[in-house]
Amino acid sequence: MGEPKGVWVFSENKDLTLELLGKGNELADKLQTELAAVLLGQNVENQANELIGFGADRVYMVDNPQFKNLHAESYVSALTSLAKQYEPDVLLIGSTKRGKEVASRVATRLETGCVPDCTHLSIDENKRLLMGRMVYGGNAVATHFSCAKPQIATVPPRAFEKLEYKERKGEIIKVDVELEQPRTEVVEVKEIEAAKVKIEEAKVVVAGGRGVEKKEDFKILDELAEVLGGQVAYTRPLCEDRKWFTDWVGLSGNKIKPALYIGCGISGVIQHVAGIRDSQIIVAINKDPEAPIFEVADYMIEGDLYEIVPALSAALKKLLKIS
């Protein structure tokens, strides 16, 4: 057996696969090795060329109707056999909930490590993959490396950029793998009604916290979000304690990185900040001059959101000439 080689990427989510290829391309260059995508599904041959266009030198493809049900067992057995056969050096897996389960199980079968939710990936002077992730409720970034191969990391959506599509040549390798029979049975799938734009994908997010006294008062935030072409988001206490909404932004909820985040009446506890830290511009509006959110803000206004938010909407309308 030779040295493990190749940077591999896999996600059951296509957009995320392309983002992994974007980062994987950089890592493979540094390691002077090839970049490969693992494509698991039914009738997926047409997707293989697209993966090549987005950076894959090779596509390992397993075409099997059993992937239709998105059973973890199918993915786990396919990835494990492929990794045993071809011995990749690095394996990046998309950090969806399904992906995280798959990664943990593959890593166990291959008796290796796995660092989840990596937002920092680089190659050190010893050609090891350095994997950085947020720990301790967003208080710290921990950097890790793996002594065992493959070096497995899971990567959350929107951590890295995909490459531009280019017509390129690459190799498609069809592999026959015996898939494990699932021991769980999916009996029902209920789609969760998607918001207009998912909050993680919104370019502008106007977030409200405990400083918003009544649920109806969110109409002033809704108006500001509309003027800005954005979405409204909530903090965990509004969802968990007041039960006004179901989906919050923060470490345990959605992590967002919009171009513009405006926090209204949000104190900025560390768990919330962990979910907004990567925003390009952070604006904080809060009555309390000691609110920790001011520590992480680019623009800050100390004052009453009930006065400032409507005034900001009005000022923007005037300047942007929106009637």
Partner: protein
């Protein structure tokens, strides 16, 4: 009647961590320990199943530091028996090792119907130990469960995924990881706390497990940590000024337009 094992981690209370601003190092000394949040949901769910169907709830805690307070608290909440596996040599174990130790402990406990874990721990949040443990024990798993029922030997769990709720069925023994949505964990009464002092905590260490030393701690772990630092804060902290609210708002509006970050 079901025998349910609940894996409970003694976690750092992350809200009590401090940061040394000069070095960006995390100061954990003085931060208290607590039952990891979602593990409390797992324990609560196990107790509710037992209240309906009878059976036994057994808690397993593996920790490099003394975690007797945590074991005692799980008994007060309603577990029947707690196994506390505590050895300083577990220090710096990664999830590969932690799941291995847990699997060896559980193999010693005999037959069971369900293993419940939290979806992730509140301090390291890796969400790996549950899935890895099921792999090691060779049993089916249902992760991110927000609703759970047990009918004879059939477990049904509704998984909370990003874009759907997926209802999954499997035959026992099954490992499930649960989300915070599944229930509201109870706070033990004074009576329950007093009664818990009569329940048994079984304390084990490395000598009670047939585990080779090279498979645990740093030696056994695949993942090593090079540094843990508070993230850099490089925000501009520009205060918006003006005589009136309108002036302040206009100054901010101009700044945002200039930044080019407006969505429309």
């Amino acid at each position: 009647m079901p025998r349910i094992i609940v894996c409970v981690k003694q976690a750092l209370d992350v809200t009590e961590l401090r940061v040394d601003s000069a070095t960006r190092l995390i100061i954990a000394a003085g931060a208290s320990r607590k039952i990891s949040d979602f593990d409390k949901n797992a324990l609560e769910e196990a107790i509710r199943l037992k209240e309906k169907q009878g059976g036994e709830v057994v808690v397993v805690t593996v920790s490099p530091e003394d975690a007797a307070m945590t074991s005692r608290e799980t008994l007060a909440i309603g577990a029947d028996k707690a196994y506390l596996v505590n050895d300083p040599s577990f220090e710096k174990s990664d999830t590969l090792v932690t799941s291995y130790i847990l699997s060896e402990v559980i193999k010693k406990l005999g037959e069971f119907d369900l293993i419940l874990c939290g979806e992730a721990s509140v301090d390291s949040y890796s969400a790996q130990v549950g899935p890895r443990l099921a792999e090691r024990l060779g049993i089916p798993q249902i992760t991110y469960v927000r609703k759970l029922s047990l009918d004879g030997n059939v477990v049904t769990g509704e998984r909370s995924l990003e874009d759907c709720y997926e209802t999954v069925r499997a035959k026992t023994p099954v490992l499930l990881t649960v989300t915070g949505e599944i229930n509201e964990p109870r706070i033990p009464s004074l009576m329950a706390i007093m009664k818990a002092s009569k329940k048994e905590i079984v304390k084990w260490n490395m000598r009670d497990l047939s585990i080779p030393e090279e498979k645990i701690g740093v030696k056994g772990s695949a993942i090593q940590v090079t540094e843990v630092l508070a993230p850099k804060v490089e925000r501009r902290k520009i205060v918006m000024k003006g005589e009136t609210v309108e002036e302040v708002a206009e100054e901010l509006a101009k700044a945002l337009i200039e930044e080019g970050v407006i969505g429309r």
